[in-house]
Amino acid sequence: MSYKCSRCKRDVELDEYGGVRCPYCGHRVLLKERSRDVKEVSVH
């Protein structure tokens, strides 16, 4: 899962042990990045 730290704006990879915390600056607010998958939408 890729996130972005809301304070230092660096990309963060989370694993199941580290908890929710930026490893570079220690900030606890992380923003989830949009998935790189192609999203298919039909027009309604």
Binding site: V38, K39, E40, V41, V43, H44
Partner: protein, 249 residues
């Protein structure tokens, strides 16, 4: 007994026209109008694959905007319902993504207007997507509707019956559409839709001319007015033929 029709253009442009048809029944006139609005198929985007969308709007909202962009529709016979054309777009902010930024895989199907804004992109925002356009009828969704502002009015005959009373107040006499004056067709816009401008001090009588309808047809750019009208007629004719064949068996 083949009916005798007479068609006469009052205004004629690529995407907008006004024409008079004499000899049609109201039922037939309305059938043509309805066919133009709902039964003539046009191309429109109905599936979008988003590769990147970092704009402020959701994918679904942008997909709807893309769907509503008029696309040119290829000549009859080139395409059948079910065929698709892919259009790609890749725009990076700052700037606005326009319909003209679409690159089509087929020269025959491309945005009819190049200046339809899709979304405003700020610095660093990007829109990259691939869209599939398909052929369908206006009946299924407004994005497939080729005729916009399609309607008709009776042709109105105006006759001068005498002079207006000397002391009568001059009140505007508003008429809209096209009038027939001694065989001459005059759009009411020429005299500000006011009969007292054209016939000052006269008393006039106006009446609907039976079975004479003035059609006003505007297309969204998918095709010309002539194409739209002939395709609407074709669609009615094809159904009549289908019914005839089915009943014969």
């Amino acid at each position: 007994m083949a009916p005798a029709y007479d068609v006469e253009f009052v205004e004629r442009e690529e995407r907008k026209a006004r024409f008079l048809v004499r000899g049609v029944t109201p039922a037939f006139a309305n059938g043509i109008r309805r066919a133009m609005v709902a039964d003539v198929p046009t191309m429109a985007i109905d599936e979008v694959r988003f590769i990147e969308n970092s704009s402020v709007m959701f994918d679904e909202q942008i997909a709807l905007r893309m769907g509503l962009i008029p696309l040119t529709t290829p000549p009859e016979g080139e395409f059948v319902e079910g065929d698709t054309v892919t259009l790609a777009i890749d725009v990076e902010g700052p700037g606005t993504a326009y319909s003209g930024d679409f690159v089509s895989s087929d020269e025959l199907v491309k945005p009819a207007d190049l200046n339809v804004p899709i979304i405003d992109l700020k610095d660093g925002q990007r829109l990259e997507a691939e869209a599939d356009a398909a052929m369908d009828r206006g009946k299924s969704h407004a994005r497939h509707q080729g005729g916009v502002a399609v309607g008709y009015r009776h042709l109105q005959r105006v006759e001068v019956v005498g002079d207006r009373d000397q002391f009568e107040d001059e009140e505007p006499h508003i008429v809209r559409g096209v009038i027939e004056d001694d065989g001459e067709l005059v759009p009411t816009s020429e005299f500000d839709h006011d009969l007292t401008v054209r016939y000052p001090g006269k008393e006039v009588r106006i009446e609907d001319v039976p079975n004479a309808f003035v059609f006003h047809v505007e297309t969204d750019g998918s095709f010309s007015v002539e194409e739209l009208v002939t395709r609407a007629i074709d669609s009615l004719e094809q159904r009549a033929r289908e019914l005839e064949d089915a009943v014969q068996l």
